[in-house]
């Protein structure tokens, strides 16, 4: 199992200095690994550090501490040709398809920009051919190549963003909320396409999102983040059938189900989370979730629980669950 690990993140920390002696703990001691061809979902509320985590894994941010290993090599220590190669192999799809594409470039130039830099074609004809192939792969066609971004809808733009990432013939993709800006009917199209592309091209995904139902659908394993830390990580089905961390349970119970009868039943059992996410600026010691947790004890406010394995591949960071 160990040998086909694509990305191994251990004790990764990313702090932002805010000045005035204050520090924002965006990612605080996060560890996980992703195997070849697997999709790891990274879920959490806004401001929990999931995007920062994805970006740090790609080397877009410098880390504060810890390590990110890509096929055994430290991402943040890569130099020269190795770094160049990593930047090709690991690609990112951004959340906002309106902001992440240059309005002054044609679609073909947007898609080919990376190929131009990395010399992934021999001549102009091959470049055009590759662009057409990519457009087809993401469900667009040749005629779209010479248009500008403003002529496309949100779903089509996201497809262009995905084509741009695929142009680099990547092995590993970080999807930063690729569907949250899209309509429900279009979300399903994009998700189906991502699943198909993964099968066809043997891609590995880190899928960052706040929509648990979509994450369940696409991921093999899911990690739940809260204020910069992973509180639970396990296989996708397991997480939804046996959520153990109180935060995961609350998150799941907050997702509305489109069925009024089931909703009325759930109403009585629903776990209502009071308050909001506390500030990640100089957080207090102890479990980050303690202030909102219905089961919090004195111990939770003093010591920080770490991830402990409670079942096969099911890890939880909670004193109550691990029985400490």
């Amino acid at each position: 199992m160990k040998d086909n690990v694509v990305l191994e993140v251990s004790h990764l920390k990313k702090y932002f200095d805010l000045g005035h002696g204050r520090t924002l703990h965006a990612v605080d001691d996060v560890s996980f690994s992703i195997r070849e061809g697997e999709t790891l979902g990274l879920v959490g509320e806004s401001g929990c550090g999931k995007t920062t985590c994805g970006r740090t894994c790609l080397g877009m941010y410098n880390k504060t501490d810890g390590q990110v290993l890509y096929r055994g090599k430290d991402v943040h220590a890569l130099k020269g040709s190795e770094l160049f190669a990593y930047k090709r192999e690991a690609q990112m799809v951004f959340q906002d398809p309106y902001a992440s594409l240059d309005p002054r470039m044609t679609v073909s130039d947007i898609i080919a920009e990376g190929m131009d830099v990395h010399h992934l074609y021999q001549n102009k004809a091959e470049r055009a051919e590759k662009i057409y192939g990519l457009l087809e792969k993401v469900g667009l066609n040749k005629e779209h190549a010479n248009r500008f971004i403003h002529e496309f809808s949100g779903g089509q733009r996201q497809r262009i963003g995905i084509a741009r990432a695929l142009a680099m013939e990547p092995k590993f993709l970080v999807m930063d909320e690729p569907i949250s800006a899209l309509d429900v009917s279009i979300q399903a199209q994009v998700i189906n396409m991502l699943i198909r592309l993964q099968k066809e091209m043997g891609l590995t995904y880190l899928f960052v999102a706040h929509d648990l139902s979509m994450v369940k659908h696409i991921s093999d394993r899911v990690a739940v983040m809260y204020l910069g830390q992973i509180v639970e990580i396990t296989r996708s089905e397991e997480l939804y059938s046996h959520p153990l961390h109180p935060y995961t349970q609350a998150l799941l119970s907050a997702i509305p189900i489109p069925d009024p009868i089931i909703e009325a039943e759930r109403e009585t059992k629903r776990i209502h989370l009071e308050g909001e996410v506390t500030s990640p600026i100089d957080p207090a010691p102890g479990c980050r979730f303690a202030s909102r947790c219905p089961y919090a004890t004195a111990r939770c406010k003093e010591a920080t629980p770490t991830l402990k394995e409670v079942g096969t591949g099911h890890e939880v960071a909670c004193f109550r669950v691990t029985g400490e």
Binding site: S46, Q189, I195, H217
Partner: protein, 342 residues
């Protein structure tokens, strides 16, 4: 209970743009009874927000135009005939609106308290001092901790969920008869979304107000709506009670929308039922059924003629050719049951 509060009749709204006339809303009619929650569901660009803004008379004319023959009857009066003075009493007093993006809707240069007081002083005869006390009371009502000190803070000092609560406090300041909530939870996280929906529900019960909830998320609707109106390309394609629409969707679009949402309580993996294609261009709306280009069960007649509105009993209506007696019942599995009944 079943007293009519609002009646929208054959509402048609167009926007005049350089590219041509965009027919955003094309003949929408629905009613809202007292104390009832009606959800308007549809994807972006289907005209649901334009409908809401028309009810509030917030449509800017020009470029928009509310077409001849449209009627919006609120408590027996036609809103479209209101003069400026009547509108001032109507907006914020009798009907209030909560917008999607609370940060953009709130005034960044005014304290939260002053924004509530502004509304109170405009519609009631409260003194400044009384209004301030009432503002604190309202903030407490919507669940903002330490309202006494928060009342003097600015919107940027609030988080997204708290801002939405402030919006709700402003909306409920003058005890409106109707609250229009335009995607109130779209920008929020799920746990906060649940809190806001609960809050709207509780306040509605307490004040016995009617609510029009506009959203694209069917899940949110299940928990709160009495009746659902499904819009597509500026028209209503299906309407009915919440249970009817969720359990027996009659229109292929509603059915497809329900299938496109991955459900946590169901075992699913891999292929999601997606709706291929995109909504039609409303500069030149299709001659027949607007959904025909994306519909799995599309027939020849669908592209040629507008489907008739069919009644399935208990106020459940859908516009679709599949339910005509001449149509073979074989193709669309979800329509068969209806054929047996009819």
């Amino acid at each position: 209970m079943s007293e009519k509060l609002l009646e929208v009749k054959n509402l048609r709204v167009s926007y005049h743009t350089y590219a041509g006339e965009v027919q955003s809303v094309r003949g929408v009619s629905f009613t809202v009874n007292k104390g009832e929650t009606v959800a308007v569901v549809g994807e972006s660009g289907c005209g649901k927000s334009v409908t809401a803004k028309s009810i509030m008379r917030l449509i800017k004319t020009p470029p928009a135009e509310i077409k001849e023959g449209s009627e919006i009857i609120f408590d027996g009066e036609d809103v479209l005939q209101f003069n400026e003075k009547r509108l001032c009493a109507y907006r914020g007093g009798e009907v209030a609106m909560v917008f999607q993006d609370a940060l953009a809707a709130l005034n960044p240069t005014m304290t939260v308290g002053n924004q509530i007081i502004e509304n109170l002083r405009h519609h009631t005869k409260l003194s400044k001092k009384e209004a301030k006390a009432r503002a604190v009371e309202l903030l407490r009502m919507v669940g903002i901790p330490q309202p006494e000190s928060r009342v003097d803070q600015y919107p940027h000092e609030f988080s997204g969920g708290m801002r939405q609560r402030v919006m709700i406090a402003i909306a409920f300041a003058c005890d409106p008869k109707l609250l229009i909530a335009d995607e109130p939870t779209t920008a929020l996280d799920v746990t906060i979304q649940a809190q806001i929906i609960d809050l709207i529900k509780a306040l509605q019960k307490e004040k016995n107000a009617s609510v029009i909830l506009i959203t694209h998320d069917l899940g949110v609707v299940a928990n709160i709506a009495d009746r659902i109106v499904v819009m597509y390309a500026g028209q209503i394609v299906e309407r009915g009670t919440s249970i009817e629409v969720f359990h027996h969707p009659r229109h292929p679009y509603t059915n497809a929308l329900l299938e496109a949402v991955p459900r946590l309580d169901l075992q699913n993996k891999q292929q999601l039922a997606s709706i291929e294609g995109t909504p039609p261009d409303l500069i030149a709306p299709p001659k027949g059924c607007p959904f025909c280009t994306r519909c799995k069960y599309c027939m020849e007649i669908c592209c040629e003629q507008q489907p008739p509105v069919l009644n399935f009993g208990d106020g459940h209506e859908a516009s679709c050719w599949l339910y005509q007696l001449e149509t073979p019942a074989a193709d669309a599995p979800f329509t068969q049951e209806a054929h047996y009944e009819g």
